[in-house]
Subunit: 317 residues, 2 copies
């Protein structure tokens, strides 16, 4: 077993480019720690803010409404997110309202207003079409397919989804899954998608649908990542206080894809994937320490490295 | 971080002696994989059968009724379990009836008949009182206290409990917790005992009650083990088929305590504990592959070592 610590950071001469397509939202979130209203959210937001801790730039494709604060776009751009693919359209920004209770492992959705996302069709610039690493965050699988049709030479393509699409657009989602390299979904989604209550078997069934890698996110229990010939079990960083888990899964994906891009990793490099899921887990843990992207925004690489080293020590047995 | 692989197996010249006090039962268990009736169970049974894979002898203290098969006692004795403290009394053996559904992470109890366990009072022989490593499996905390009063020079004392005692004998259980070194309980029990839904904080609160080590078992999600200055997160071995999880927690404890005894570990040796929880997790995983002790019975140390190495590889990130 190669120690991921000792492997070279990059396989090639320079990091690959990284693209994410997904939602940018304004959330209303209630947790035992408090309430956040009109707070910056959306899968592509969490993904790109998390990813830019490790890797810049990140190409962002999404849509916001007339009500979306211009200074937020400036802030995102200022931290290395290429917002040239973030459309501003007539209407209101996508809004999600939900809350967490008890162990906070699952959000309860109260309201979802697609707003300008309702008739969004991603149209990638020629630069974005050349992205090496692509992540299709949780959006309508029909849109994910449109992105897959546009990208030209991706090295690794990942995708996420949610229960709503599993139930309402099964065929389109299955086509997405058959065309991506790395499928990310949470435990409940893996069970819903496959009908298997055993998570290992559920993950194996997703692998049979096409991707070479399946990452099953288990919230506070970490993630189970299966490849065709190998596995990695990454724990969540044990946190004694969780402020808001919203975006943790997207931050995990953002940290993971950024690390893969940094390593310029080929799909078959499982040791690179091991390193990447470690970064993903650590960045997701920071995400849970605040509402919105507040904690992610202030992170520096040494803080990530320190916590990753602690997690590796916790995993020594 | 010391690699547990490279540390000497024993701190002292020879392994310490190991004692378990707890239930020996006949179970009726239903799982999606089938039904087992009048099948050998009980916390002390699973513990001692698991422990004797690594460490012999194990001193067993418990009670069975007139209906308990003599050949089972011979089988247990034959594998290095010292059954001189296993009383046979007038009446029927303790019986438990329950089932598992869905993700099988929690048993549903249908019937519990204490039978001869109803008026059991542990009375240890002078040899057993000298045990170095002692485990108080899940029994009435009043009985656990009676054992604590009898042991004379224990190096590490562990204990387990269950929701029933947390609710019905809170004061006695808290006294047990304050007097043991290593408290083992599952996630639901930790939450019930402390009123904390965050498992890390729940474990921290149990630490505040006295023990130096708290192991929170999370079923298929592994275990979170907290010491005063360090932590270890051990995953469960990913199993694509679970036959019956009954006794997995007891097998975890048995593997862990046997490893500590084998290493002749002092309480403050956290690296020894890391190794021990690895063994515990692996042995618990085998336990889930059959009803009763069938799978545990056939295990050899190389099978354990192989799976432990795989689990370490899965935990490299």
């Amino acid at each position: 077993m190669t120690n991921p610590n000792s492997q070279p950071a990059h396989e090639g001469s320079e990091p690959g480019s990284l693209l994410v397509v997904g939602s940018v939202a304004l959330d209303h979130v209630r947790t035992p720690a408090g309430v956040a209203d009109e707070s910056l959210g959306g899968a592509a937001t969490f993904f790109s803010v998390a990813a830019t801790i490790l890797h810049r730039p990140v190409y962002l494709v999404g849509v916001v409404g007339e009500d979306f604060p211009e200074e937020v776009i400036e802030m995102l751009s200022g931290r290395g997110i290429d917002c040239s693919g973030l459309d501003r359209r007539e209407g209101r920004t996508f809004r999600w309202k939900g809350y967490y209770e008890g162990d906070m492992n699952e959000a309860v959705t109260e309201e979802t207003h697609l707003n300008v996302f309702g008739d969004f069709v991603p149209n990638l610039s020629s630069k974005f079409r050349q992205a090496d690493y692509v992540f299709l965050a949780n959006i309508d699988p029909t849109l994910q397919l449109k992105v897959l049709d546009q990208i030209e030479k991706p090295r690794i393509v990942g995708a996420d989804t949610m229960n709503f699409w599993i139930q309402s657009k099964t065929d389109e989602l299955r086509e997405v899954i058959s065309r991506v390299d790395l499928m990310v979904l949470n435990d409940a989604e893996a069970i819903l998608l496959t009908g298997e209550t055993n998570l290992v078997r559920a993950a194996e069934k997703v692998l049979e649908m096409g991707p070479d890698i399946v990452a099953v996110k288990k919230g506070a229990h970490g993630a189970l990542v299966l490849g065709r010939d190998d596995r990695v079990l990454v724990p969540a960083v044990p946190l004694s206080e969780i402020v808001d888990p919203t975006g943790a899964g997207d931050s995990f994906a953002g940290g993971m894809m950024a690390s893969l891009a940094n390593q310029n990793a080929e799909l078959g490099n499982f040791d690179a994937l091991r390193t990447a899921v470690g970064y993903g887990s650590v960045i997701a843990s920071f995400n849970c320490e605040s509402f919105s992207i507040e904690r992610l925004k202030e992170l520096q690489v040494p803080m990530i490295e320190e916590r990753l080293q602690a997690l590796r020590n916790y995993s020594t047995f």
